[in-house]
């Protein structure tokens, strides 16, 4: 059996849901109830989104997690995944160790999120071509409808889940090869907030995930809503591990709020929902923190205990910037 055939056989062993048809048919066939489907597709490219020496199981985790985070932001429950997998080019036998680690990690990830692999495609990249991964995630929208990015209203409170900036520190730690493993794993193994997304959806007016940076993603929510977002930088929740790693001063908070890769939820809700939202923290075992509000205007307004402050030059990751 060739390397590519062995890889496909290993994927077949993971694709046990009947909808996958054993990865032996032209397509997956998935029964669905009437309603809204939520669909997303994100790519990870070696040398761009991950490094050749990143553990392959972590790459598999991140590929799944970043797509499930998009579903979480729409309050959706995952139904299944389709994966496009461009294996490393080069020798006829491929890279057995990397590919085996990737499949093992993928299997563990599918089990962790209880989401089935339904189908996809495996190809060999040309010699020297980077590993290139694409994943489509399909979910079921909540009964209340999938929240939109641009639904915030003037007077709504802006909230964030979890803690912000851990992954930014984790990237630096992963690059340095030493440091707090908890922070590093927040970068390598982000936790999509699926349960929180489902629980929050009925109460929010807008929701998105924080992938490119809290400030830039809040700015996009404000722009899509035709409003200004006012953010209290001191209210942005930092983890004790992050505070220990980089402090909590203004520079540290700005770094956290612009780093990206958090995969936390950013959402808007009317002030009347505040008690309801705070009460969700315990069953979700997740921090939910008011960090600002929406008002008439455009762009972002940033304050801290010293008062209004200028926006940093870089608000987060901009595609094509």
């Amino acid at each position: 059996m060739t390397h590519e055939a062995a890889f496909i056989a290993a994927l077949r062993a993971l694709a046990t849901d009947p909808a996958a048809r054993g990865l032996r048919d032209d397509a997956a066939v998935l029964p669905v109830a009437a309603g809204d489907l939520v669909l997303t597709h994100d790519m990870l490219v070696e040398g761009v989104h991950f490094l050749p020496d990143d553990p392959p199981g972590d790459v598999a985790w991140k590929l799944v997690a970043v797509n499930l985070s998009d579903l979480a932001a729409k309050g959706a429950a995952p139904l299944g995944l389709l994966m496009g997998c461009g294996l490393a080019g080069g020798g006829p036998d491929g890279d057995d160790t990397w590919d085996a680690g990737f499949v093992a990690g993928l299997g563990a990830t599918l089990a962790a999120f209880a989401v089935p692999l339904l189908g996809g495609d495996t190809v060999r990249m040309p010699p020297g071509g980077p590993r290139t991964l694409g994943l489509t995630a399909i979910g079921r929208a909540p009964a209340c409808g999938a929240p939109i990015r641009g639904g915030a209203r003037a007077g709504d409170v802006l909230w964030a889940s979890g803690t912000i900036g851990d992954a930014g520190a984790g990237l630096a730690i992963a690059r340095a090869g030493r440091g707090d493993a908890t922070l590093r794993d927040r970068y390598r193994r982000p936790a999509p907030r699926l349960a929180a997304g489902i629980a929050l959806a009925p109460h929010v007016t807008a929701m998105a995930d924080i992938s490119d940076g809290l400030l830039i993603d809040a700015g996009r929510m404000a722009e899509a809503s035709g409003l200004r977002a006012a953010i209290d930088l001191d209210a942005v929740p930092l983890s004790p591990a992050l505070a220990a790693w980089g402090g909590q001063d203004r520079a540290a908070r700005l770094a956290a709020a612009t780093a990206g890769d958090d995969y936390e939820l950013l959402f808007a809700a009317p002030p009347s929902a505040t008690a309801t939202l705070l009460a969700l923290r315990q069953p979700l075992a997740l921090n939910l923190t008011p960090i600002g509000w929406f008002e008439a205007g455009t762009g972002l307004a940033l304050t801290d205990r010293a008062g209004a402050m200028p926006l940093p030059e870089r608000l987060g990751y901009e595609h094509g910037a």
Copy 2:
């Protein structure tokens, strides 16, 4: 505006379906009726599945067409597409001409098949990295249920749609840079048999598309059905253009039956359905030809007017071979 941002803006102009949310939300939200969805994902990699000097509009067409062909094989009507697009690496301005040609071709292709672009991801490959495209197609299964690859029964007739081998000749013509443009375009712009798939689905016991070669795909249908497929090579339909290009002798027929990229439909149906199927040729304006049958056993049995003949060494394209 950077090149990548301009590319995304051009895609937004194509993604006019409300489900796409203007490509500005975390995910697409698609209302569906209760029933079976059909889902497929295929990749095209530069240097593997297409060449740097292939017209970019043809690459866009093929990306969409090969995925819609998988839907056609399951009798499905397309609902939408998500695209993962890895633009050429290199200079900061990318390749404006290629990318603009690709988006224009994609727009024309979406219009030709009346299928909406719902979402996806655009990334820049690392310097020197090949353009890498992935497409997920979502369709609605027919009311009779999506035909499976492995549903053929002993005694069923094996059929093929259209003509076989044109794309194989077309690839040779494209490589040579001269020859019959009709054959060349059968390679560059395959026609997914969507209307035929929908019309045939209620009458077939098994269906698949012919992507890797008639013989290898028939062998897979036989294997999945636990049967042997007997194929009359003389019955395999060749186009007049192919016959003029390469003749109709045994070698030419074997080349046609093993070339692949046909994107025709291969299906099994009981003999009692023969008249019904033949009557579909006129409304579909498409050849439907009985080319063999299924019987107890395994593998393929090949005959022509001279009687039983040995199988060629290569039955078609094998992934990882």
